[in-house]
């Protein structure tokens, strides 16, 4: 399969994600320059972490206007797989491809650390190789990951099983104490109605190799690969 990684001028996890998709997992991977209009026939578009446009205004606020985002929108409409990681997730929210918005972390500080996540649904293209209730250990690194949505939206997400990842403790317990950044309902990752656009704050590309102390992130990429090959 072929991964495409969008490069905004302020992206800084683009090379990391490339490394994992290409060198670690062995799949063809291309960079997609944000000013271009060509998705190069990829099977999955990844919006990587970073600070798309410096993000002084709001994370993703300016990145959403990049020329390539038109194509990404159409691609998603047609059912193409789009994965937003961290800043990529923030861009997807600003684009309206996923509902809700991000606020500053509740302690008003940037947070870089490993967290535990509970996997809530494995019937998606992004999680089919995982088990429901599986606990993943992955790093987060963000200033604005405090997920917010109107109560109506939260209801809908719950009813439609669209929350994919929640912050929890090592035993899978979801509680306010383990909700590092203050997200509504401890949401760390969610998916759109059609099931082809997912966003998550944790960084799977930072934990896909033994040497980096966790390989729990691989399951996300491997699910995508499995889905495309199925």
């Amino acid at each position: 399969m072929k991964f495409g990684i969008v490069v905004f001028p302020g992206s800084n996890c683009d090379r990391d994600t490339f490394h994992v998709c290409n060198h670690v997992l062995g799949h063809k991977t291309v960079y997609l320059w944000h000013k271009s209009h060509d998705l190069q026939d990829v099977d999955c578009v990844i919006l990587p972490g970073g600070f798309s446009y410096g993000d002084y205004l709001r994370p993703g606020a300016i990145g959403k206007f990049s020329p390539l985002m038109n194509e990404v929108g159409e691609y998603a409409d047609k059912g193409g797989l789009v994965l937003g990681i961290c800043n990529g997730f923030q861009v997807l929210l600003e684009l309206g491809l996923l509902p809700g918005a991000m606020l500053r972390n509740k302690n008003l500080k940037f947070l870089c650390q490993f967290v535990h996540l509970r996997l809530e649904d494995n019937k998606t293209a992004f999680t089919r190789k995982a088990k429901i209730g599986q606990i993943l250990r992955m790093p987060i690194a963000h200033f604005d990951g405090n997920y917010y949505a109107d109560p109506g939206i939260l209801d809908e997400l719950r009813k439609e099983n669209r929350v994919i990842l929640r912050y929890c403790d090592a035993n899978g317990l979801v509680s306010e104490d383990n909700n590092v950044n203050g997200s509504a309902e401890s949401i760390a990752g969610l998916i759109n109605k059609k099931g082809n656009v997912m966003g998550l704050m944790p960084h799977p590309e930072r934990c896909s190799e033994q040497i980096l102390s966790s390989e729990d992130g691989r399951v996300i990429f491997e699910s995508v690969i499995d889905f495309i090959h199925a």
Partner: protein, 81 residues
């Protein structure tokens, strides 16, 4: 032309920055401060558009670019004339 746009969180959204400032002021003894809300300020110079266009454009860019309407609201005013 010069306009000022003020952006703040909607009432329903918590404003932890404002809370922190309030807390800091209380520790310094300013305990008569009841509430603080923090927001953003934009001052924009424009040129070569009509008054009517201005009335249309400022809300447009505020809505599209300067705020995220899910969490923020804005007001604006002319600074000149």
């Amino acid at each position: 032309m010069k306009v000022r746009i003020l952006v703040s969180f909607k009432e329903s959204v918590l404003d932890p920055q404002g809370q922190t400032v309030k807390h800091a002021l209380h520790t310094l003894g300013y305990d008569f401060i009841k509430n603080v809300r923090q927001g953003k300020l934009f001052e924009i110079d424009l040129d070569g558009i009509s008054e009517k266009e201005l009335e249309k454009i400022i809300p447009e860019i505020s809505d599209k670019v300067l705020t995220n309407p899910i969490i923020e609201k804005f007001t604006w005013e002319r600074l000149d004339g």
